[in-house]
Each structure stands twice: as structure tokens, then as C-alpha cells.
Symmetry: C2
Subunit: 352 residues, 2 copies
């Protein structure tokens, strides 16, 4: 009997860690050992995976030794430092943090769309896209294969959990305070309440509000997440000239990102054909009967694996453009599931 490959997860105690452990517990058992690693602060905690209790190890060389695949859900700076160490110790590193996504020597992979890219990894690292990009790609990749994608205009409705546990806690605290006040039309009360609760890592109050900013400041007034959505989409789809204009907005939702997408193609499109494609693409669920109230919302999709697609329309003034609404659980589908798919695809290479 051949030895099953060993997996380590770095960042198992973060916002997406719980989703990851659930996915590992429910997928076909392709791993030998599964090792959970976190910051020294969380070391010693016990988490359940595959029905067994597992003691979390502190991150150091010793913890990484002997692993075949190391999956990073930890913050960027941790992954930037430790992924090369994992590789030097003989593992393939899967970057779910963002540290290596745009490195030209690191493939950026969605196994359903560009599995071939996995095979060329000069640094021994494979990256998984940002959760917002992953909300987009399964549906848009499938439509691209049929119609030939030329241009995207995207607006996001991103959940608090995309900014981590601190942002979720801030939103919860703000909501608890505003729900106790007489919620008037004017938001003087809201501002005062939120002042008490604080905004955590968010740049503005999120309860009863929307915040048109996610990520860090880039030249030209852009945010890192807006430019990242453009660069990552180009890289995964292999379309370096693709036109992409994105505006990223945080909304008072705990989990599940939504996107509105205006997609222009090379060929004429029809809603019937787009429905057919979306209904049969892996990782996509079509839910599009507005007359019956059937369109995806974060409350519908949270806790599920796929990207849900609805509101599919042909642009009224452009027979080559589609407008649609996409929705996916950013912790499960966005942060955890694709990284696991990458790790499992790599696992198929063992024993090597």
C-alpha cells in the first residue's frame, strides 16, 4: 500500500479555518496525516477534523517538516515568509493568503478552469485567487469559453468576514448597539452607537451603511482589491489584455460576497444559451426566476460550495454583453474550497 500524502494547514484557527476543516472532513479521504498549524498564540488549541481531535501546532520549521502539501490560509506576511521554508523542506506550498498571487513564477489556479497551470511552478508554490475573484471566476470562466470574454465592469457587495474575524466582531457589536436605539431616518444615533462599538479593521461604520473601500491604497485612486480582481482574472483566464474596471464595496453582511457583472464578449449572446452554460458548469448553480422571487442572496448561499448565478440579462443596448448577479460564500467557496481543490489536485501527484 502506498503512503498517503501528508497535509499541513497553516492558519487553521482564522475566519476561514472552520470552513476548511469541514471541507476536509467531508471530502474523499486522500490525505494521510493532517496537521493543523497556527500562530504560537493559538498553539495547543484542539480542533476537530475528520471526526478526530487534533492539537494545533505553533508555526516553526519542525511543524512543517515531513509534509507533502502545506496550505496557507494565514495572513500574507506569514505566507510570504513561511511558504518558501515549506518548499525548502520538500513540500508544495498552496498560497491562499495573497502573498504570491501575482508572482509571475507562481501559477494562480482554479482547477475547474486552468488545471494545466498547476504543473509549472518554478518556486514550488501554487496560489489560489482572492475570495472576490473566486466569486466571479466559475461563472465568468464558463461564459468566456462559450462567447469569448472581452471586457468586465464589476461592482462588489463584500461581506465583513472577507476582512477577517475582527471585522465580523465590529459589525456584530455595531448592530447590537443600533438595534437597541430608536433607529430614526437620521443616523446621528447610528454614528454615536458605532462610535462606542468601534469599526475594528474597517475604515468606516458598516452597520446600516455601505463602505466603498476594501484593501489598501494604490495609485490613481484604486484599491488593492479592485486592481487585484483585474490582475487575477486576467491571469487565471490567460487574457492579459482583458479590460476590467471594478469598484469594491463592503456591505453589512457577515458572510457571502456578491457581485454585479457587466460582461462584454466577442460573440453575440443570448440569455437562453447563457442559462444553459451556467446550469451545466461545475461550481455554478443557476437560480434565475425573478418572477418567482428566485435570485441568489447571501442568506441563501452561505454555507454552500458553489457560486450562485442569477439576474442574467442581455444588455439592452449591446447584443454582445450580459449583465448578471453572482453570489458565493466567501469563507467556504472563496477562501477554503478552491485552496483545498488545488491541494487535492497536487496530492494526486503523490507518491512521486
Amino acid at each position: 500500500m502506498t503512503r498517503k500524502p501528508a497535509l499541513a494547514v497553516v492558519g487553521a484557527t482564522g475566519a476561514a479555518g472552520g470552513e476548511l476543516l469541514q471541507i476536509l472532513s467531508r471530502h474523499e479521504d486522500i490525505w494521510g496525516e493532517i496537521r493543523l498549524i497556527s500562530s504560537p498564540r493559538s498553539a495547543g488549541r484542539k480542533l476537530a477534523v475528520r471526526g478526530e481531535e487534533c492539537v494545533v501546532l505553533g508555526l516553526d520549521e519542525e511543524a512543517l517538516r515531513g509534509c507533502d502539501v502545506v496550505l496557507f490560509l494565514a495572513p500574507e506576511e506569514i505566507c510570504a515568509r513561511w511558504a518558501p521554508v515549506a518548499v525548502s523542506l520538500g513540500a508544495v506550498a498552496v498560497d491562499g493568503s495573497g502573498a504570491f498571487r501575482l508572482d509571475p513564477d507562481v501559477p494562480l489556479v482554479v482547477p475547474e478552469l486552468n488545471p494545466h497551470a498547476l504543473r509549472i511552478r518554478p518556486r514550488g508554490i501554487v496560489a489560489s485567487p482572492h475570495d472576490t475573484t473566486l466569486t466571479l471566476l466559475p461563472a465568468i470562466g464558463a461564459l468566456h469559453a462559450a462567447f469569448g470574454l472581452r471586457e468586465l465592469v464589476i461592482s462588489s457587495y463584500q461581506a465583513a468576514s472577507g476582512a477577517g474575524r475582527g471585522a465580523m466582531a465590529a459589525l456584530r457589536a455595531q448592530l447590537a448597539l443600533v438595534a437597541g436605539t430608536e433607529l430614526g431616518t437620521a443616523t446621528g444615533d447610528l454614528r454615536r452607537a458605532v462610535g462606542e462599538a468601534g469599526t475594528g479593521p474597517l475604515p468606516a461604520p458598516l452597520a446600516l451603511n455601505v463602505v466603498p473601500w476594501t484593501g489598501t491604497v494604490r495609485p490613481g485612486g484604486w484599491s488593492s482589491e479592485e486592481l487585484g480582481l483585474r490582475e487575477e482574472t486576467r491571469k487565471v483566464l490567460g487574457l492579459p489584455e482583458l479590460k476590467v474596471a471594478a469598484t469594491c464595496v463592503r456591505v453589512p453582511v457577515l458572510t457571502a460576497h456578491s457581485l454585479t457583472v457587466h460582461a462584454r464578449f466577442e460573440d453575440e449572446v443570448t440569455v437562453a444559451r447563457a442559462h444553459e452554460i451556467l446550469a451545466t458548469s461545475p461550481g455554478v448553480v443557476l437560480y434565475d426566476e425573478p418572477a418567482l422571487g428566485d435570485f441568489p442572496t447571501p442568506a441563501d448561499v452561505v454555507g454552500t460550495d458553489p457560486t450562485w448565478a442569477g439576474r442574467v440579462r442581455r444588455a439592452p443596448d449591446d447584443e454582445r454583453a450580459l449583465d448578471l448577479f453572482l453570489c458565493a460564500d466567501n469563507l467556504r467557496q472563496g477562501a477554503a474550497l478552491n485552496a483545498v481543490h488545488i491541494a487535492e489536485t497536487v496530492a494526486a501527484e503523490f507518491p512521486r
Copy 2:
């Protein structure tokens, strides 16, 4: 001394009525009598306007007689029935309800943009755009004058109050219930809580959610508000060929609509010039220093008159396109203020 014109407001007790009375109380006193009219159900209520108590009248011919301008904030069907009656009794009717917006014999007016259109009103009716269109127009109209507008891709973040008092009450009730529960990542609790609170006139739960549907069902998967945004923008700007693709989404905000806009122009654009235009246009405030955390949000703009513009960027792949974020109080700027501006512009015609 000439007689000052008499104004009647039909729908003074609705969601935008309070804003309207505040605006009338604070503007230059150009009206003689101000008469408040509502459904028979609300007749007899007392409301303050210009510092004086005013008894609300039930809507009938008698209540409308002797008015020079009748401003309708009431539901569409009320305005459709009673605006022609007001006209037959000698008044100019201002439709803030939507009943006549797309009637080719009714001008659709934003006085800062197309005041000339006011003068030709074959039916004696002048219409004010939908609150979502009004969030867009002051900024986009000014940019159009400078660069020549060709195409718009718009996504909305619409507040509950745009769907009336019932939607605001439903959101408040849902929030009170979810804030009392342990708000987990999974939203089973949310669904149960919202099930108890009900969704009011909304097609899905709105607390901790976003709902990609506003308005009624139209062919091709479109909603009435999405197509209305297109038709109204074309009509006010006098651009019958303008390409517009909009996706309308309701967000858990009480008051103030936001829009992301991707606008393509005939001429090359620069952010510097766009900033200059937006900073000097009537009805627009520029608030755009993301590095300092300065971008408009609903909590910032609620209770104010203008459209706030921020996140102004030149599209990374199109030197003729701008991306921006607009935010305005939908009850004040959207539903009340423009209708008052129209009424005041008509008032200047009296005595006639």
C-alpha cells in the same frame, strides 16, 4: 402686492413627506398658502410646516381647488388619477410618484440640468425622476457637459426607505431580532429570525443580506427600476441613444442610495478635470481622498441635500471612461428636493 402662488402637497404623510416639509420650511418663502393633503385615512393629522401647524386634508376635488401647483409624493396610482384632476382645476401638477415620468407629453426635469424642458408641458404635468436616477444625474449630467456621455454601467446599493415606510419597518424589525441572536456565520438563525419579523414589501430578508431586485418584473429578466433608470437618464439628458445597463440591488441601509458608475465618454478623461467639474457643479459635493479615508457613505450623506461623489478613477483600460461612487439621501435629495425645485421654478411663472 401680487398674490403669492398656492401649493398643495399630496402624500405629505409618506416616507419622504417629512423631508419635504423641512425643505419647504427652510427655503425662501415663495408660497402663499401651503396645503397638505393625504389619503382620507390620514386626514385630520396635524403636521408642522414653516413653523405653523397645518391640518392634513383628505384628497378630493375640493382639497385641490384654488391651488397653483400640486406636488404629488403619493403612490403612482393616486397620482395617475388625481394629477389630471388638479390640472383640470387650473393647477400645474408636479409628479414625484413615477406615474408620468416616461409619458412623452410630460417633461422629466432636473432644474439644474434641463430647465428649458419645463416650459413645454402639453398635459400640464411636470415629472421628477426616480430617487435612484436623481442620485446619478447631478454628477453625471455635469460630466456629460464636459466630456460627452456615451455609455453607463450602473450598480445600485438602494436603501430600504426607497421602498417606503413598510420596508423600513421590516428592516428595523429584522435587525432587532437578529441582533438578539448569537449571530453565527451560518444564517439559519437569521432566516428563522427574519421569518418571525416578516419581509414587509421586500421580496427577501434584508437584514445582514443584499437583495438584487427592486421594482416589478419586466421582459428579458429586467426590473422596472433598472429599465426606468435607463429611460429616465436618456430623457433628462436628451440622449435617446445612450447605452445604459443597470443592476438594482437593495442593501440593509435605512436611508441614502449609493451607486457605482462606469461612464464612457466621447472624449478622453482625466481624474483632475473630473474632480474640478464635480467640485464646482451645483448639487454635487466631491469627497474623494481615499488615503485619508474620505469617500462618501450613506451614514455621511443622510440628511443632506447634494449628491456626494467619491472614488473617482480613470478606467485602467479605457482612457475615455471614469469609475466613480455616488451617494445621496433618497428621501431628501431623491424624492423631495428635486420635486420642490421643480415646483419653485414653476412658481416663478406666477402671477400669470
